[in-house]
């Protein structure tokens, strides 16, 4: 078996990405395998190896290693929802100059700083929070928490309300212009949420949530979610 203390420390650092319950149960075992497969004289974790470990850690955090296919697909959709939400933030940042140029040329428009405070800042602030909620609910559903299903349904309900309000208002006087890409992006996000709701309530998904709840009830001391 190879592996210097330095290499072991570095592997331990990467393994810290895994859920606590997994590290407690299998951390030392995985470390032994990593050290056994290390090349003679290897001093640091290779890039491909680290990516593989981080990918494995992400899959476990999101419950992708244990959940049935419909739940796995729902979790993937929720992750896509997070990415789309962050993409909206990037779009706002990238197009800010163009929006400002158009806004200041409009003689009926209010002051630009007020517009930024009331229209731009809320979007910039809410996008990371929204993405965080998507990811948090993805992890909770992937690990089979019973509360995660109604929680995500409520979240999808909020998305629906937001979409309907957006359609209804058509943009106030000072609101960001509702262009077809905005409407399409909101509709895509809503569809992603809707598809995820359908999947987590599918016939094949329900036993998973019930089984995980029963497992947690049977082992309260180890109820860490994995």
């Amino acid at each position: 078996m190879t592996g210097s203390p330095k290499l072991e420390r570095r592997y331990r650092r990467v393994l810290a990405c895994y859920p606590k319950a997994f590290r407690r149960e299998s951390g030392e075992e995985v470390l032994a395998v990593l050290l056994a497969t290390a090349a003679e004289g290897q001093r640091r974790a290779g890039l491909a190896e680290s990516v593989d470990l981080i990918r494995g850690a992400l899959r476990m955090h999101l419950g992708l290693s244990r959940s049935p296919r419909p739940v796995r697909n729902a979790v993937r959709l929720m992750c896509a929802g997070a990415v789309l939400t962050l993409a909206a933030l990037v779009t706002v940042l990238v197009t800010l100059g163009r929006v400002r140029a158009g806004y200041v040329q409009d003689p009926d428009a209010g002051p630009w700083p007020t517009f930024v405070l009331t229209q731009i800042v809320p979007v910039l602030a809410s996008a990371p929070i929204g993405a965080g909620v998507w990811l948090w609910l993805a992890g909770a559903n992937g690990r089979g928490y019973n509360w995660a299903r109604p929680a995500f349904t409520a979240f999808a309900g909020l998305l629906t309300t937001g979409l309907l309000i957006g359609f209804g208002e058509g943009g106030g006087e000072d609101a960001l212009p509702s262009t077809w890409p905005d409407v399409t992006a909101a509709a895509v996000l809503w569809l992603v949420g809707l598809a995820a709701v359908v999947l987590i309530y599918s016939e094949a998904a329900s036993p998973y949530y019930q089984r995980r709840a029963a497992t947690r009830a049977a082992t309260p001391a180890n109820g860490t979610g994995r």
């Binding site: 078996m1 995985v30 497969t37 593989d52 494995g56 244990r66």
Partner: protein, 105 residues
């Protein structure tokens, strides 16, 4: 069944193996084509245990390090046998249809 899963179950078909043993067995079975990394292996083992296809056989401490051995459950054996039969039937059908082309004998 994914190829990695099939190979891991095959590695356990003739007896229990520990993590490093599974990696070397899979490499041998696949003719060196598949080299499992630790992250992939333990994600697969976690899933196979949750699905009831494998279970822990025993644990040992070797050179101060934990070594956990895994074995197939009866359900794992049944699923592997079914998958092997399915692959064999598909391969046989492909080879039969390729015969006229002369690529295979």
């Amino acid at each position: 069944m994914q190829e990695a899963t099939f190979l891991i179950l095959t590695a356990l078909a003739d007896g229990s193996q520990h993590g490093y043993g599974i990696i070397t067995e899979v490499q041998e079975i696949s003719g060196g084509r598949v080299r499992l990394r630790a992250g992939t292996l333990y994600t697969a083992l976690d899933r196979l245990r949750a699905d009831g296809l494998i279970e822990v056989d025993r644990e040992e401490i070797v050179e101060g390090r934990l070594r956990r051995y895994y074995r197939l459950t009866p359900e794992g054996t049944r699923r592997l046998a079914a998958e092997a039969a399915r692959l064999q039937a598909n391969a046989r059908a492909a080879l039969t249809r390729l015969k006229p082309s002369g690529v295979v004998t």
